[in-house]
């Protein structure tokens, strides 16, 4: 443990008591340190305990949580500090930034008020005038123009990116030494995300901050981290300098996680690495390596306490195998995860969906003081999607991609222009005919399944609506499609609440496929899923495409996913198609400046 660290955490464990005497061991034996001017990324999938670590550091754990271990801020033990001392430290030495700038600013106060509030509270000697001056200076440092006027504005008057800049400025008002950022860019668009990350790095240099950034997104890690700690099931399984971690991951979990994410060197439409099974329950006594249930290296020794192996001064990993043993297996593991199963579908020239001059104009309700305002969501969209292809649509929020998908589904009628499905105008199609050709899969598997219906009923519903088959035939079809989508038959009578996010998305896909449609519209199908689950779903979509000869329209903000899946890519901006071309070509020779901006923002991943 380095002595000059701003924050040093040693052997931190957090246990959350549950009903009936059970306990959830959310964090176990976590140690790390952050120095001035250093960025530590705590990376892991949802539920791995990374946010609990952050909350422990700030002393903001839920009441009843039991914490043990040492947390030192400039050598002062803050694990046992009084509530008053922690409150003082939180404002002055430790500052925090949260994920959602929509909710972390109070809508009832002007941003000026919120900026100076903390400073005036913590430093009574500072005058209001001085505080305002510092706020203006910081807003300008954070890239906000006309800062003086902005002080009088309210959060709703600012865009998401600006709001996050304001929260960053707010965090820096008291000149803290440690900045804790919990998923600070997850709610933002990619180009904004890149700007915010750049800003954080610049501020870190300017203020000599120790930055602890918590994220699930490996591309964020790649962009900002000096040091990375990978968490799995409440433990840090590997700590390494960022470059080394991406180049030579040690722990089997890190290796698997990295292989799940489609990167620049991944062969498009190849199978991504995946993690079988799911995260173990953290309730009750835990021993040994928690990753062993999903690890291809697992041996009986994994159930015993696992030693922490050091490799140089800044590299640690926790595994029963030595580096030599892991490296010997590395080649084998590669083959395991990255088998190229690319197979071309027969070229078909038939057009599945055709849009001609499609325009969508929303009329916003005028208020007492404002007249009706037309909002152009789509403008002059010409698009022909051939049968059997995978079309990727990329764009940031508000670019009209979801409106476009609703129009293709026949859920919305465009203001002008024509849409035809399999050569027939979509408006003339009967409801049921349309449904047999085209089906959707949505982003949020929590919102796309009716919580009151069993999985069986959800998948069976389309067959019932269309009156396909007898009840035995329907049951057989449901079982077959569940099997194809990797869902166990025992889930037939389960309800959505009992399923994980990945399983739910499989149910949504099964329900869309049960009628054997020709076209599937996937609107951000993996955006709310963890990396390892995302790779499972992407693999499944590719498998199903081969099996059922499907045409996909894949809408995403994630360029890596689009690059991996699509053979043709359309880039949208402000309701227009700004670029349209073959998948690889767009990435190697982006034509439109906006495409270039998108690619640059995403970095190498």
């Amino acid at each position: 443990m380095r002595s000059d660290a701003v924050l040093a955490v040693r052997d931190l464990s957090v246990t959350l008591p549950l009903a009936r005497g059970a306990a959830l061991h959310a964090v176990r034996g976590v140690s790390f340190a952050v120095e001035r001017g250093e960025t530590l990324c705590l990376v892991g999938e949802s539920g791995c305990g990374k946010s609990t670590v952050a909350l422990s550091v700030c002393g903001l754990l839920a009441r009843g949580a039991v914490r043990s271990g040492e947390i030192r801020l400039f050598g002062e033990d803050i694990a046992n500090a009084s509530t008053a001392r922690m409150a003082a430290l939180r404002g002055r030495q430790i500052a925090m930034i949260f994920q959602d700038p929509m909710t972390s600013l109070n809508p009832a106060y002007s941003i000026g008020n919120q900026l100076i509030e903390g400073l005036l509270h913590h430093e009574p000697t500072v005058t209001r005038k001085a505080a305002v001056a510092r706020a203006i200076a910081l807003l300008e440092t954070c890239g906000i123009t006309q800062a003086t006027q902005r002080l009088r504005q309210y959060p709703h008057q600012l865009s998401g990116g600006m709001r996050q800049r304001v929260t960053i400025a707010m965090a820096l008002m008291t000149r803290p030494a440690l900045l804790l950022a919990d998923e600070p860019t997850t709610a933002l668009d990619v180009t904004i995300q890149a700007q915010i990350l750049k800003l954080l790095k610049r501020l870190q240099r300017e203020f000599d901050l120790a930055l602890m950034l918590i994220t699930h997104d490996l591309s964020v890690v790649r962009q900002v981290a000096d040091q990375v700690a990978v968490m799995y099931a409440g433990e840090i399984v590997e700590t390494a300098p960022a470059a080394q971690l991406f180049e030579q991951p040690r722990h089997p979990y890190t290796r698997a996680l990295l292989s799940c994410v489609p990167g620049i060197d991944t062969v498009p439409r190849s199978r991504l690495g995946h993690l079988a099974g799911s995260v173990p329950s953290l309730i009750g006594r835990l021993e040994g390596c928690q990753f062993r249930t999903r690890c291809s290296w697992a041996v009986p020794a994994c159930s015993a306490p696992v030693p922490l192996r050091a490799e140089g001064e800044h590299r640690y990993y926790r595994c029963v195998f030595t580096l030599e043993a892991l490296e010997a297996d590395r080649a084998l593991a590669r083959i395991d995860t990255a088998v190229d199963e690319r197979s071309a579908l027969p070229e078909e020239s038939a057009v599945a969906i055709e849009l001609r001059g499609v325009e969508m104009i929303y009329r916003l309700e005028g208020s007492l003081f404002a007249s009706h305002m037309p909002l152009v969501a789509l403008r002059g969209i010409d698009l022909a999607i051939s049968l059997g292809s995978v079309l990727g649509i990329v764009g940031e929020s508000g670019c009209g991609k979801t409106t476009l998908s609703r129009i293709m589904l026949g859920m919305m009628t465009p203001t002008s222009g024509t849409v035809s499905l399999m050569g027939q105008p979509i408006q003339s199609l009967a409801r049921l005919t349309r449904a047999r050709w085209i089906q959707p899969v949505f982003q949020d598997p929590y919102a796309s399944l009716n919580p009151r219906q069993s999985i069986g009923a959800i998948i069976r519903a389309p067959l019932e609506v269309h009156g396909i088959g007898t009840s035995q035939e329907r049951a057989a079809k449901v079982r077959r499609i569940m099997d194809a989508c990797g869902l166990a038959t025992r889930l037939l009578h389960a309800y959505p609440a009992q399923l994980s996010g990945g399983q739910r998305q499989r149910v949504a896909i099964a329900s869309a496929l049960v009628m054997r449609p020709k076209i599937i519209i996937c609107d951000e199908p993996t955006s709310s899923l963890d990396a390892s689950v995302q790779s499972q779903i992407l693999n499944l979509l590719l498998d199903l495409r081969r099996e059922f000869a499907l045409t996909y329209v894949l809408i995403s903000h994630d360029l890596a996913v689009i690059r991996h899946m699509a053979d043709r890519i359309v880039v949208m901006r402000q309701g227009e198609i700004v670029e349209d071309g073959a998948g690889a070509a767009i990435f190697t020779h982006p034509g439109h400046p906006y495409t270039r901006a998108l690619l640059a923002a995403r970095g190498s991943v």
Binding site: R406, R436, N450, V465
Partner: protein
Amino acid sequence: MSARAIGQRWLAPSRLGLAVGASILLAGIVIAIGADRIAPHDPYAQGLIRRLRPPVWDARGSVVYLLGTDAFGRDYLSRLIYGTRIALIVGFGAASVAAVIGTALGVVAGYIGGWTDAMVRFVINARLAMPAILLALAILQIAGGGLTIVVLVLALTHWDRFAVVTRTVTIQVSRQDYITRARAIGCSTPRIILRELLPNVLGQLLVIFTYEVAQAIMAATVLSFLGIGIQAPTPSWGLMMAEGRNWMRTNPWLTTLAGLTLMVLILAINLVGDGLRDLLVPEREA
């Protein structure tokens, strides 16, 4: 599950309220159903010779008429017991009819929107602008009393809350992707409303339903007290209180006992409602 675990589970404040409320309500329902067997006397049998006997705890009271007799010499306890039946029929009857009217209007307005929604909103506003008790008074004056009419009148004056809540919840649920998915599958509007929307809306209505049952019982009592609605000699609590009013000075139990019974029942129903809300919206609990 051990006795202690069961104790811990049910002794939390909200659960305790639910348990007490549900027990009282259940007892009320049993009494209402079994009134013929439980009541010690015929609630209609008059006897001037035994009029205005005080309850058993009074020096002049007797065990035969546990809660005494009213001005016509009818057994007070038996009338209270039969009154429970009337109260619960009116409460649950009116709330059920109101729920059907309100939910139907709310779900259609919320899902279809546009002009349909505007119309329903207008009807709701019109209903809210009318004073419920006065409206009920007017209708009952014209249509006459009787249990069925009272139930219908109270239903017609109590459906608005169902409509407002159903409409709001429906609008929220309609935005969920599973409704869009149902449309994409090709489901008809009635199927979407019945199979996808209603099951997700009903949970929220259960709490309002209990509240409206209490409200309807209260309103029915007020109407009876005013002498309209349920007609003498039917043993309704409101009528009993109205009849006892004349003897307030000398025989106060004639009004207070019926009033207390009413209070206990309303309290029990509201406790059930509160408890159900905590069960259905568990994140409110610590």
